[in-house]
Symmetry: C2
């Protein structure tokens, strides 16, 4: 595990707050080691830093009460959704109270006529989509994990559909939030657009719980498309595949998904899922539209792909065929883990302008080879966003150190290409140094906002910002 | 004219800052009454509050110097683009220095492969689109006026294309800004998405120059569509037209524009442009896509419109035909002014969930009739956003008072319908009371951010926030 710094603990305050909250919440207040460890567990390689207690509120008023108790005693508050974040977002480096929002999981309202809904933060994206299906609606953001919508908003999540439908920043109309003093605010109403004041919605989206705690979200919805088609095509090189992606985007083809799998990933998937794909870089696409529209879109892609050496182009429309065609992508994570049994997969994410994607992926592959890593790469290519999954022996400190150095090198390279150190995972604990490298003086403005709204620094301390940087 | 409160002036500071800036900027520093009045002029009914001087910087470094001088002497800084904002945004209620950015009008870089560009804030949208045309690209946000892109970002502008392409918040990738202490920051790089830290881009977009001054913008671009079609259809009532709009949006038809003209507007346009449109509510639409796609979209609209009593459906594709079909919309402003020669048109804007649009427009029409106003209504119906243009005799104080009361009533109604007091004009001076009504406690969070970043309140004072509210 990668060590992360512990922060000074306010023992007296924590003790007092624990006493008060235990009395208020009874069974919904837990201090057992297993529960605490699970709530400070991070799905990546950063060591667990457990909170002192976990509390399970049922209402916004209860969240406000918890925050008020913690504010009065200067005790950290760490929000928790499903725990699928990747950069140590739910760790408690100074101890404190984890607020598990899983019991606030009601879909409060669906306004089908306005294509919006209001949900509690513990609703997961799969739960919401199951709820919506009968009404012919869906929520398009799909980060892979069945994350909670509050957590997805807090990390500004995106995933495979972002190239068409945007990220959480584009799909949250407004939030209700409990601020660091316990005050409850609403950042907007249900109008599709507004020029009314500072965009607090977008400030809370991506703030990773460091400015307040999201207790309700009003989300944009989409109608389930009349038709969906999928296509795939193999390319002789990552550069050729990326040129095809650029052509697709410049052409204005409204792809819903356009995913890049590198040759190593394809090899892993062939072995795992008994497929016979050419073991070269692969693009997988999905199109949403009318029956005629999706056929036209897939055909256009086929023509464009051909211009860049694409081979084995295939397009399908039935649900079964689509599912088979996308199997390579769905199985990619588990398949690639088999490339080195016993190793843990460490996922890191950067995002660059699309014109630099081939360079960035190519350089990353060369560097990984040089370092001797097995590390398949999968990308949301239409956004210039990709993940390298480093297969690492967690018991080998030298290897961990090398992996850490690679992550730093990759982030530096993405930043030097006018890109970002994280396209969708967020900063958490792990990416704080790169945020400073990427945005420099702007991080001082972020720190000023944090200090103004949370002067005692109780909201999810040790995340996003590096004190004194 | 509607009076607006003057704020206390820091005479000594202003005098000193004027002296310093005069020396630094020579001819590019002006204090003539005409220039000052023009820069404190607002295109609506709020009285002019001229700055003490106007300075024309040429570089970001010069903007930073100006702000540093003003910060040192606690002198207001008011940014100015083209002066087309509608709610008193460029007024100088406490005097101070107007920073006219019109000389910072270079298109710095176009990255065609990445569909983005970087411009100075004084570039206007028409200038940018002329610059881009040869490359087959365009910037989609069209608020009507040929506004500067810095100003459009600052007011979170949108307009007719927003239903498809979003607003300025969706189309600014990053800004460079001079903060209230003169510090220069960049809020992001060129990646299409990022989860790196607080979303300062969206905080600066819509802040109306109260948190800093935008000196550079990186914008998303679109490929000029292969084909465009336009359609129009008349409806027996506003309610029927709005139901058709809802059907279009729910169907997922990717309309690029869907504009509502009420019967009064159609009557005015018939008279002004010698047209023979049925004098009932009219929808005008535009579709962007492939040749086959736009024909299919227009046909689908025709079918949907028929279900809601639409009549006289017509769809065209050539540039000439499209221009003729949209003439009613292009002429609407000048045509409606002829409904009451000599009167001034006061435009007010609200935005509600689409399901409430018919109710809101209907109630507004009834109220306007009751009050005896001639006030045509035109709406960006796909967003639930509409404008009432009150034709007012500016010399008649009773009429002005009645108009002001109507604006208040309309804003209250929009807010009560889960809508916003401004869909695209911004808060400026005129809408400050409604912002508080709409967002309540959230405005205290806005004030805390303002106080943290601009403790002396020098950046565009008297806009957006109401001290002490």
């Amino acid at each position: 595990m990668v060590q992360t710094t512990a922060l000074p603990r306010n023992e007296d305050g924590i003790k007092t707050a624990l006493g008060v909250l235990k009395q208020q919440f009874g069974d919904r207040f837990q201090t057992g080691q297993a529960v605490r460890d699970q709530h400070g567990h991070t799905t990546t390689w950063i060591e667990t830093q457990a909170p002192d207690a976990v509390v399970f509120p049922a209402t916004t008023a209860e969240v406000s009460e918890i925050v008020k108790v913690c504010a009065a005693h200067r005790v950290p508050v760490i929000p928790f959704g499903t725990g699928t974040s990747l950069e140590g977002h739910v760790n408690a480096p100074a101890g404190g109270i984890c607020v598990d929002l899983s019991q606030m999981n009601a879909v409060l309202r669906v306004n089908a006529g306005d294509l919006d809904c209001t949900v509690q933060p513990g609703v997961t994206r799969e739960q919401l989509n199951t709820h919506l299906r009968d009404q012919g609606l869906f929520f398009p953001i799909d980060p892979g994990a069945n994350a909670s919508l509050g957590g997805m908003a807090s990390t500004r999540a995106s995933g495979t559909n972002a190239v068409r439908y945007g990220t959480m920043k584009d799909n949250v109309l407004a939030v209700e939030a409990v601020m660091p003093d316990g005050q409850i605010i609403r950042t907007g109403q249900r109008a599709r657009k507004s020029s009314a004041g500072y965009d607090l919605t977008r400030l809370m989206v991506g703030a990773e719980g460091t400015l307040g705690l999201i207790t309700e979200l009003t989300l944009k919805l989409q109608g389930i498309p009349e038709a969906i088609s999928s296509a795939r095509c193999s390319f002789p090189s990552v550069a050729a595949a990326c040129e095809a992606v650029m052509a697709v985007i410049q052409y204005g083809l409204p792809v819903a998904r356009i995913e890049l799998l590198d040759a190593l990933t394809v090899r892993a998937v062939n072995a795992y899922s008994k497929l016979t794909l050419p073991e070269t870089p692969l693009l997988l696409l999905e199109f949403h539209g009318t029956q005629a529209g999706v056929v036209e879109q897939a055909d256009t892609f086929g023509t464009l792909a051909g211009e860049f050496g694409g081979e084995g182009f295939e397009a399908v429309t039935t649900a079964e065929e689509r599912s088979a065609l996308w199997q390579a992508r769905h199985d990619a994570y588990w398949a690639t883990l088999q490339l080195r049994p016993g190793a843990k997969g460490i996922s890191t994410d950067v995002c660059v302008p699309i014109s630099r994607l081939a360079d960035c992926v190519g350089a990353a592959q060369a560097r990984l080879d040089e370092l001797g890593f097995i590390a398949p790469i999968v990308g949301h290519a239409g956004d210039g966003n990709f993940h390298a999954l480093l297969l690492v022996d967690m018991e080998n400190p030298q290897e961990l150190e090398k992996a850490d150095a690679f992550v730093g090198w990759l982030n530096d390279m993405a930043i030097s290409m006018d890109g970002t150190c994280t396209g969708e995972h967020g900063i958490g604990q792990g990416k704080r140094p790169y945020l400073v490298k990427e945005l420099g003086p702007a991080t001082r403005v972020m720190a000023a906002i944090k200090a103004a709204l949370d002067p005692d620094g109780i909201m999810n301390p040790g995340k996003v910002l590096t004190p004194g940087s």
